[in-house]
Amino acid sequence: MATKLKRMAPSTRSSFLTYGMVIAAYVVMQAMLSGGLLTSSLKGMLVPICAYVVMAVSLNLTVGIMGELSLGHAGFMSVGAFTAVIAAAALQNTVSNGPLRLVMSMAVGGVFAGLVSLIVVVPVLRLRGDYLAIVTLAFGEIIKNIINCVYVGMDGTGLHFSMKDAASLGMAADGKVLLQGPMGAVGIQKLSTLTAGFLLIMLTLAVVLNFIHSRAGRAVMALRDNRIAAESVGISPTRYKMMAFVTSAVLAGLAGGLYAMNFSSILAKKFDFNTSILILVFVVLGGMGNIRCSIIAAAALTVLPELLRQFADYRMLVYAIVLILVMIFTNNPAYKAFFARFRFRRKTAGKETA
């Protein structure tokens, strides 16, 4: 086993470490859950943590690997969340198996988020830097406002849509309103579980890590490092940027589905600019392009506000101070030199075996 680990490419070894970390965390959490060792507030956060981890990893694909700042990632989460909720309700009578229905409706959420991202990808391919950030920010707001005016209901004949109010849905007597504009989606069946979240994280990691180490991932990183050089070796910017962006959006849609089905009701307001920024903070704190650390950052920063509850009114102040301190210390030359020492040793070891 040890020799096998040594013979692996460093990137493969790093990927396995990431998978291992997630599996270990899942096993510990599952054990604590069945042992009744978790407080109820922490128990309620397990699925959101999983969703945020997926969001952080998928945003890292856009921000870290593609090198483009996106401020509307919560918009894709929102699209995924609401379409998944509607899909879950629509499938209630045909698919009785809960986990299967969860997977199917999350898949619907992912597909819709992907379709919406095909619209956003048009400016993404033409803009860079601040301008792209502004467009994605606007996208997040537009999605929030659109969902705020949509009414969806379901009766025996199928789904009904309206942009006016619940009454204009024109449903039969047995009709049930699924999405009530600014009141959000209500009466959601709670299908999400820690295991589902864990599996989604593993799927996301498999997709993102394989993408990064694939031909396409290399091409995306080459475009990020130097667009002109990349084009001069024959890389098509359109194709690969689109691939990365749409993949990231689909994963965000899946995470949205998982997140929404952890609650009995959910509002479009939940997926606003603050959520997009929160996810970006996970990525920046974990390190752009660093998948493993963005997972840790997402989990830690989701739990942190809960743990800081004892500070009451000063909660957000302490949260901000912790963030700033972490950023200062991880940027400290002494800290970097300390970790660079380990990296150096690993590199020379690799040379000897090569």
């Binding site: 084009e231 001069s232 024959g234």
Partner: protein, 236 residues
């Protein structure tokens, strides 16, 4: 000798600035042809337009009998043209070997290890540093890397944009020696240079550009000897 690249009456403009005004020239198989001229003469603009990174307003670029006018830059590479862009544009965060592998992007496949050896034979310095991140290389090494990366695609035409820019004289000498070696091995090269003396000393033919127009052309020996050229570009 057959013509490999032919540029006809090329006009390129950046907005209202007319940078290249009706430039025409040919490159024949096995030749080193150089475009020389001062800053802002339109040399790099011409080269970038040939590679498809810029679009001309009018005129045509024909490569191996095919009009390149509508072909996007990433597809031009697979037709056998490689550009080493100005200013040593390497992928700074990738290792030397990864940079070279990116050069074989359009080809891929089984030939890559042999091509890597070919490049390492040309640039032994790169072999020593193949695991090093490209951002830590010196300027001259980055230039070698950019050239090596272009060679990985086995170009029928290699275009070099100011390979001597910002390099120490001894490195300039080395780079030009390598260009000569490539030429001897049969490569066709289009070289854009401000360092007219060095460029003309290795080229077969030269074109002199001045504010977007070709003012003189001829075999390098003649250009080197010409009094007008000497006065304008060679400092005396």
């Amino acid at each position: 000798m057959s013509t490999i690249l032919s540029v006809e009456n090329l006009n390129v403009a950046y907005g209202s600035i007319h940078a290249v005004k009706g430039v025409s020239f040919d490159v024949n198989e096995g030749e080193i042809v150089t475009l020389i001229g001062a800053n802002g003469a339109g040399k790099s603009t011409t080269l970038n337009t040939i590679a498809g990174l810029l679009r001309g307003k009018s005129g045509s670029v024909t490569f191996m009998g095919e009009d390149l006018g509508k072909i996007p830059p990433h597809k031009i590479v697979s037709r056998g043209m490689a550009l080493v862009p100005e200013g040593r544009r390497v992928f700074l965060q990738m290792s030397v070997q990864e940079n070279l592998e990116m050069g074989a992007y359009t080809k891929g496949g089984a030939g890559v290890p042999a091509d890597l050896e070919m490049v390492y034979d040309l640039f032994p310095r790169l072999k020593e540093r193949r695991r090093q991140v490209a951002g830590t290389l010196s300027g001259g090494e980055q230039q070698m890397l950019a050239m090596g990366r272009a060679l990985m695609s086995h170009p029928k035409l290699l275009m070099l944009d100011e390979p001597s820019m910002g390099l120490a004289p001894i490195l300039v000498e080395q780079i030009f020696e390598i260009i000569q070696n490539l030429h001897k091995a049969g490569s066709t090269i289009l070289l854009v240079e401000q360092n007219a003396q060095a460029a003309l000393s290795i080229a077969d033919r030269g074109y002199v550009l001045e504010t977007g127009k070709i003012v003189t052309t001829g075999p390098s020996g003649e250009l080197l000897a010409s009094a007008a050229i000497k006065k304008a570009y060679l400092g005396g």
